[in-house]
Each structure stands twice: as C-alpha cells, then as structure tokens.
Symmetry: C2
Subunit: 201 residues, 2 copies
C-alpha cells in the first residue's frame, strides 16, 4: 500500500482539498505542517520552494490542483468519462479563480485597496460566483457535481465556500447548499471537520 | 463529426491554448472573435458573462483550462496514464500561475505598482519559473513534457513563454528551448503561427 506524506503550512489554504480527498477515501497520510518559523529550513528541501508538496512512496508531487486531480482519479472521485472530468474541472476552475481573488485580498498591504477588494468580493464577486455555481448545479439537481456520489468537484466547492462565503449568500442557492450539506454529512468528512482546529485562510 | 465554435476576444489570452489544440489535431473550428465594441452585446448570451466559451454541437463549455483538458483528451494529447496526466497538469498549473501574474501586471492601473510588478516579473518570477520548468524537463530529457510526442503540456508551455518571456532567459535552459522548438516546428503549428496576426497578450 502506498505511503503518503503532505507538507504544508498549518492552514487550509491550497492543501485542504488534498486532506479532504484522503479523508473521504479513508486513506491514512502524514499531515506534516510547517510553521512560519520552520518554513525557511524546509523550503530548500522542496522542489520549487513552494507548498503543498505531496510525497507518495518517496516520489514528490507539486501543484495543488494537479495533485488533487491525480489523487481523485486514484481514489475514484473523478467521474468515469471525459465529460464528467470536464464538469469537475469546470467547477474546480471557477473555484480556483475565486480562491485566487481571495488570496490576493488576504495578502494586500495597501489599506484602501484592501478595503475596496474586500467590498468588491463581498458584494459582487462572491454572490455572482455562487449564483454561477447554482446555475450549473440546478441543471443537475441532485446535490452533487456529477452523478449521485461525492467527487472532487463537491469537495472543492465545499472547501472554497466553507467559512469564506457568508451563509446568507449560500442560503439563497438551494443546489449549492445541497452540495455543501452532502459533503458535510459524509461520516468521514463530518468526523474530520469536528476534529479540525480552525486556522486562518 | 462534431462541430466546434470558439468565442473569445481578438487576442491570445486564455483561448490560444484551445486554438493550438485544434491546430495540432488538424480539426476545423469556428474562431469567432469579438471586439471590445461587440462584447457588450455578446456577453449576456454567454453562460457567465465570460470568455472563452466553446460550443460543441450546441453544447456550451466554459473555463479555459477545463476546456483545454477536455479537448486534449478527446484528441489524444493528454498522455495515457494518470501519472502522465498529472505531469501535464503540473506544468499546466505552473504556467497558469505565471500567466495569472502576467495578467495582473498587464491590467494594473497604478503606475508605480505596475512598474514594480514589471520589474519583479522580469528579474525574479519569470527566470525562476523557467528554471523550475527546466528542472522538470531535464529529468525527462526528450524535449517533451511526456513521452516523445507533443501533448497539452508542451502547447501550454509554449504559449505561456512565446512572446512573454525574453529569449535571453529561455536560451539559458536547453530543455525548455527544446520543447519550444518541438512545438514551433510541428508542420500544422508552424503554418498556423506563420498566418497568425499578432495581438496584445
């Protein structure tokens, strides 16, 4: 059986989707978390000075979404046709676009600019984004990105919205909410979330 | 046979990778380009007010990288194993990160900030990025992202660097240069590039 070790900061960030995939599969992995103090010592040991890094039986993988897709396929959470993979990739791409905007806002140093970005995200980008997801999901109507079981798409959607987009926005969109609930109510995910220590981002 | 229609601005941007995939396959497609004058009329007809949009036999596809992967798989340019797909996704992800940075710089309005971003891209981000690609490619050593034929990974790498990263940077990295040359010297791509009208971004 393969052995997995994940290296990332002590936060959700770009690694949580990988942790959620392991959790959903029930696959043990080493969840190695570096602090901002220990990162300078770890950094030169990573291929490109970036995290997350996943090591599978000694082989090193980088780029969070590429890793997520690789694992999702290994674990059977990536559909079974090219069309289904596309539908997961579409939602993953949309979520990644929003996440990138949120990261920019999080790290913005200029106070005025940051305030504008925060307002824009809250009033425009996030509601529009969730509305777009709803359009896609309502055509499916089952509370899943594809079929009637959890896939990478549902996990990415959940992780992107959870704690980052206000409930009063999500509450307006029943199909998005249904996906959130289907992820949250999975026994393995539920146990993981209950034990998860809250971290910023 | 499927009919394909691509909608995008008259530029490379986030659609060129799709055009290159059609070109490499030798697959006809409608290359519908909107101007900044005609876009307001087209926008409400798109699913999310964004481009590129690809229509395949009347079915609408969004999110450029999701579309690219879908087509690459249909056309046989996405490897043949999950590991090969990962290796293509890894390079695609790295290229997308750089492209996103370049787009931010391109649209930055604040003059001082833009100048800093330009300098940072030129002196740090781009050389580091190409150096990272070289590390990955030199372990393969064949001038291709996977195997010994062109794939989505090679096209993405080519399109990200072509005209956007200075030749004197690329010249330092023989394996990156070999991929660039392998893309450029493909007969179909060569003919396409020779006929392509230069556009900003």
């Amino acid at each position: 059986m393969a052995s997995y070790s994940l290296l990332y900061f002590n936060g959700r960030g770009r690694a949580e989707i990988i942790r959620l995939l392991f959790t959903l599969k029930g696959q043990d992995f080493e969840d190695k978390r570096v602090t901002h103090e220990t990162w300078p010592a770890e950094k030169p040991k990573t291929p490109f000075g970036q995290m997350p890094v996943l090591t599978i039986d000694g082989k090193v993988y980088t780029e969070s979404l590429a890793i997520a897709k690789f694992l999702a396929k290994e674990f059977g959470f990536y559909g079974s046709t090219n069309q289904e993979e596309y539908e997961i990739d579409q939602i993953t791409g949309m979520c990644n676009d929003l996440f990138t905007e949120m990261v920019r806002e999080f790290f913005e140093q200029d106070k005025e600019r940051k305030a504008n970005m925060t307002q824009n995200l809250k009033e425009k980008t996030k509601p529009r984004f969730v509305g777009n997801l709803e359009k896609i999901l309502s055509a499916k109507g089952k509370g899943y990105c594809i079929g009637e079981t959890l896939s990478l798409g549902d996990l990415v959607l959940y992780d992107t919205l959870d704690g980052r987009v206000a409930d009063d926005i999500i509450d307006k969109y029943p199909n998005v909410k249904a996906v959130m609930n289907n992820v949250r109510s999975n026994d393995r995910i539920k146990a993981y979330l209950a034990a998860r220590v809250p971290t910023p981002m």
